[in-house]
């Protein structure tokens, strides 16, 4: 049994016993263990489904044991009503969403998680009232939950807008003196946080400008970040939503929020680090830096007279008699929804004893693992998806590389020291015997630099929409 002479345990029991019975606290422990096992399961292909279910069961337990604490009165109806509305929205969104729109969906869910933290902290603040002086722990935690939650909320919705390609987000927004603006907002938000903490009586009022400024900060931090850096941003916002939940845990002295929130915070940071490494850039560089095309090479110098255009028919003929083909998918495949056409091409070529593989760059697409999701949707076998580092050494034995809507991740200038993307690991498609690049035009990728790959002797450009291009190639292959 509990040793109530232990002051630490006594403190914990006293702070929570009015609200929650001991068995609920024990159930939180069970839920925490399920979250840990669940996240661990999600890191291995064989245990992933079970891991996700375990964590869902943990969530169910944590919520259900909390309900008796609110039994009776109007509160009961509010909770049931809220869960019904939120649950219905969640079910519809999760079942209707197309796999190509998955990054946006994850961004929105993430935003709502952050939003919930803002409102829980706010609710607790109003419930405490100025007379029962709130402790400084609660006030600090409230300020943090509001701050992180608000940045997550608005940042996630801006990310959603960018991923959905709303017109206003077509170009990254950079205001004059953007860094200064961020700095001013940062100082302002910290000031508000200090006021919340220093003046418990007025905390409930200072909290409002705190949240508003943090919401603006989420917008100004996310807006300048370009599309190709989205995998980093999504992973980072994911981490923030966990940290917001953990901060909320400190507001209400709840261990399961702290544990679950920390786990998410850690996993989001790990993914963020993986994404940054795949671009050979630091996190600070992604958030605050712009890619500087210091050695600006004019596109005309590189491309003039060296671009060879091709057609589906010609590619179809070239594919007759090849042995090994590598497809390099990029965001263009997602935009064109070309994954089904790619599957047809894969089927046709494999039926002709061609070995078809996919070279997947870690940051291809708009979220971590984006290409893997799309190719899994069309049943491309898992072992056919190969990480760029693993496929690079054998690319010189490849007859044809088909670059589908990727650009910067196959740009050979990354190997040159003074280029804007110097040191970024790339897929070395230029080593393949023939490279076909399917692209609408010669416009540069996110890095804003021309790609000498397009001008190589062994490169052919197929100017077309990704889906139509692949369908034309399939038709041509079938005729042979």
């Amino acid at each position: 049994m509990l040793n109530v002479t232990n002051p630490m345990l006594l403190a914990l029991v006293e702070s929570t016993e009015q609200a929650l019975p001991m068995w609920a606290l024990i159930a939180y422990l069970v839920a925490s263990v399920l979250f840990i096992l669940g996240i661990k399961g999600l890191t291995h292909p064989r245990t992933a489904v079970r891991g996700n279910l375990m964590s869902a069961v943990g969530m169910f337990i944590a919520v259900v044991v909390t309900l008796p604490a609110v039994l009776g009165g109007l509160g009961w109806g509010l909770v049931i009503g809220g869960v019904a509305v939120g649950g219905a929205i969640g079910v519809v969104a999760a079942t209707k969403v197309q796999m190509t729109a998955m990054p946006q969906m994850v961004a929105i869910f993430n935003g709502f998680g952050g939003g919930a933290s803002i409102f829980v902290a706010w609710a607790e603040l109003t419930a405490t009232g100025p007379t029962q002086a709130a402790g400084s722990q609660m006030l600090i935690a409230t300020a943090l939950a509001g701050l992180i939650g608000a940045v997550t909320f608005s940042g996630s919705f801006i990310a959603y807008g960018k991923l959905q390609e709303f017109k206003i987000f077509w170009n990254p927004w950079v205001l004059p003196g953007h860094q200064l603006l961020n700095a001013v907002l940062g100082v302002a938000v910290v000031t508000m946080a200090v006021l919340v903490i220093a003046y418990p009586g007025g905390a409930v009022w200072w909290y409002i400008p705190l949240v508003i400024i943090a919401l603006v900060l989420g917008v100004t931090l996310t807006c300048p970040i370009g599309g190709a850096d989205m995998p980093v941003v999504i992973a980072l916002l994911n981490s923030y939503s966990g940290l917001a939940a953990a901060a909320t845990g400190f507001v209400i002295n709840n261990t399961v929020l702290i544990i679950a929130g920390s786990l998410v915070g850690a996993s989001g940071l790990i993914l963020t680090a993986i994404m940054c490494k795949a671009m050979n850039r630091s996190l600070a560089n992604v958030i605050f830096g712009k890619i500087d095309a210091t050695k600006s090479v004019s596109a005309d110098d590189i491309y003039a007279g060296k671009i060879k255009a091709t057609s589906g028919e010609e590619i179809g003929m070239m594919l007759d008699g090849v042995q090994r083909v590598v497809i390099v998918p990029g965001y263009g495949m997602a935009v064109a929804q070309a994954q089904h056409a790619v599957r047809h091409l894969y089927n046709e070529l494999e039926a002709r004893d061609v070995n078809v593989e996919f070279a997947v760059h870690p940051v291809a697409g708009r979220m971590p693992g984006h290409m893997n999701v799309l190719l899994a949707e069309v049943d491309i076998p898992y072992e056919k998806l190969i990480e760029s580092d693993d496929i690079n050494p054998s690319l010189d034995t490849v007859d044809m590389a088909i670059v589908l809507g990727a650009n910067d991740v196959v740009n050979p200038v990354a190997r040159e020291e003074d280029s804007a993307i110097a040191g970024m690991p790339i897929v070395d498609v230029d080593k393949c015997r023939t490279v076909v690049v399917i692209k609408r035009s010669l416009s540069p990728g996110f890095a804003g630099i021309p790609n000498p790959l397009f001008a190589l002797d062994n490169t052919l450009m197929f100017f077309s929409d990704g889906k139509e291009a692949v369908e034309e190639i399939v038709a041509a292959v079938k005729e042979n």
């Binding site: 890191t43 992933a48 969403v97 939003g115 919930a116 992973a235 929130g261 850690a266 998806l385």
Partner: protein
């Protein structure tokens, strides 16, 4: 104060545990890990239920209910979308 130290201890241990259990994640699982952990961050729902349910003040009840709706979208949507994605990965296994 003692409670705070206790909770901070839990926080530190959980963060380190998080870094330790996620070792090498294959790229195929990057998205499911992200959306699955995203669903877990909806644990704020527990806090939201307490805020809405205790109904301490009208404002707290309103804010709590908004939080319940938001967190439930996060939880239900997050788990379902992750399950749907993992189903696509599994059918070839």
């Amino acid at each position: 104060m003692l409670l705070l130290v206790l909770l901070l201890t839990i926080l530190m241990l959980a963060i380190f545990l998080g870094f330790e259990i996620i070792t090498k994640v294959p790229p195929t699982l990057h998205t499911p890990l992200m959306s699955g952990s995203n669903a877990i961050s909806g644990i704020t729902l527990v806090g939201a239920v307490i805020s809405a349910g205790q109904h301490a003040t009208t404002a707290a009840a309103i804010f709590g209910t908004i939080a319940v709706v938001m967190a439930t979208i996060n939880v239900v949507g997050g788990y379902m979308v992750t399950h749907r994605m993992l189903g696509m990965f599994r059918k070839k296994g």
